[in-house]
């Protein structure tokens, strides 16, 4: 059944299954779901959340003092105790394509340590604020855990997503010191 819309929200996810996994050797992108996962079923399966924010609204000369990613967790399955990692990553196109995935995260943007609470807002602070664009989008790729799962266990984290319409979709909060006003000197 169709969804009717004027555009697409900028919170998507992808799923990758290695050969012999439950999914088979497949890659897929989901535009109406936001799930990060890492688990073993047959072989290994991974999923990433992609977020994109229009940060060109920040003045070019502003000094960023802090930034937080706000997201609401709707579903958590925690069997291996994975933490959630975020890295700065802006896909070449939107929505992302399946090959934008990465097995491991650089975690240069944020970390949410395990255990991750379900049904609450999270607001981890972002590091490396210089990676937040002033003239374009800023992208984040969220990855759950590192390494290969050791057993037939599943970890997953679902964010509430925009098309759900609940008003709990992810957003970025950035604080900055404004650009100094131009001074006019008259002799």
């Amino acid at each position: 059944m169709p969804s009717i819309a004027l555009g697409a929200a900028e919170d998507d996810c992808s799923r990758w299954g290695s050969s012999g996994s439950w999914f088979g050797a497949t890659l897929g992108v989901f535009t109406e779901s936001t799930r990060a996962e890492r688990w073993k079923f047959g072989d290994y399966c991974f999923g990433h959340i992609y977020l994109r924010f229009n940060t060109s609204v920040i003045p070019p000369g502003a000094t960023l003092t802090s930034a937080k990613l706000w997201f609401y967790t709707t579903n958590i399955t925690d069997m291996q105790g994975y933490s959630l990692y975020g890295e700065y990553f802006l896909p070449a196109s939107w929505p992302p394509v399946a090959t934008d995935f990465a097995l491991e995260s650089a975690a240069d943007a944020l970390t949410v340590a395990n255990p991750i609470a379900e049904g609450v807002w999270h607001s981890p602070s972002l590091t490396n604020l210089g990676s937040i664009s002033r003239d374009d989008y800023t992208g984040l790729r969220m990855t759950l855990g590192t390494g290969t799962p050791a057993d037939v266990t599943m970890d997953l984290v679902d964010f509430d997503w925009y098309e759900n319409g609940s008003g709990k979709a992810p957003y970025l909060e950035v604080e900055y010191a404004g650009v100094a006003k131009l001074a006019m000197f008259v002799r």
Partner: protein, 257 residues
């Protein structure tokens, strides 16, 4: 202060500001910036979502709907569960939809048993549009009985008819002659004079069982009797296989016939 559809800025101190920016629109411009409210309001037999740059209303009695944007309206009504025969003609499984009373929970409208017992129609309103789902329970699958096309049959579809403003349809990300069935993997746009009037996304279906399984849906557009028919489903041999175990959500997909 609202900056654009997704962002606003507040002053938090001398020369200090906080900007919040979301992954989708939070505001719309109607002379001044206003906050989007995706919760439909019942008004004279119609559920209406009007606090946005587009308007949607849905008839409480039969779930037919109207989408209005840029002064043009697309009208949709459900024909019912059906299937495609070998010549890709829509054939109805049963005389559905049913006449049921919708239940509203915030931005969700649910017509329990709309497609038959255990086969609910769900509309989910959000800031950029509306999403339709059919949620099938075990009771719903059982109520459908044996599939009408037999073990060697073709497909399950959920059929919806669209009435478009005159001249509104240009297709789309690909070429469609408006006559022959069309299949696509991405997005179908209805355009009017170069502007997007509405957009239908074609996503995958998934099974909410553990682990969730992704399903490739049929994607086809067909024009029949002067109307465009939208449908979605999977190419399977039996209905029970198509609906699987647990609760299935057939997410956005399209066929037009």
């Amino acid at each position: 202060m609202v900056i654009n559809e997704t962002s606003e800025r507040v002053k938090i101190g001398p020369n200090k500001y906080r900007v919040t920016t979301a992954v989708g629109p939070r505001f719309y411009h109607d002379g001044i910036w206003k906050t989007i409210d995706p919760v439909p309001v019942l008004n004279s037999g119609w559920y209406e979502m009007t606090k946005n740059k587009f308007q949607v209303r849905q008839n409480a009695a039969d779930a037919s709907w109207e989408w209005t944007y840029r002064g043009k309206t697309v009208i949709g009504s459900f024909v019912g569960l059906g299937w495609l025969n070998i010549s890709t003609k829509v054939r109805q499984i049963a005389a559905v939809p049913q006449t049921v009373t919708p239940v509203q929970t915030g931005n969700l409208l649910t017509w329990p048993g709309y497609f038959g017992a255990g086969l609910d129609l769900v509309w989910r309103y959000n800031g950029i549009g509306c999403k339709q789902e059919i949620v099938a329970t075990q009771a719903g699958r059982a109520s459908l009985g044996a599939p009408p096309w037999g073990a060697a049959g073709t497909a399950i579809v959920i059929v919806e008819r669209l009435v478009l403003p005159s001249g509104a349809l240009r297709y789309l990300e690909g070429e469609w002659d408006g006559v022959n069935p069309f299949e696509t993997d991405s997005v179908i746009r209805l355009e009017d004079d170069g502007g997007i009037l509405a957009r239908f996304s074609i996503d995958k279906a998934y099974n909410e069982a553990t682990p969730p399984a992704q399903v490739t849906l049929l994607k086809r557009l067909v024009l029949e009797s002067g109307h465009i028919y939208l449908a979605s489903g999977q190419r399977v041999s039996t209905l029970t296989t198509a609906l699987g175990s647990g609760t299935w959500r057939l997410d956005p997909s399209i066929e037009v016939e």
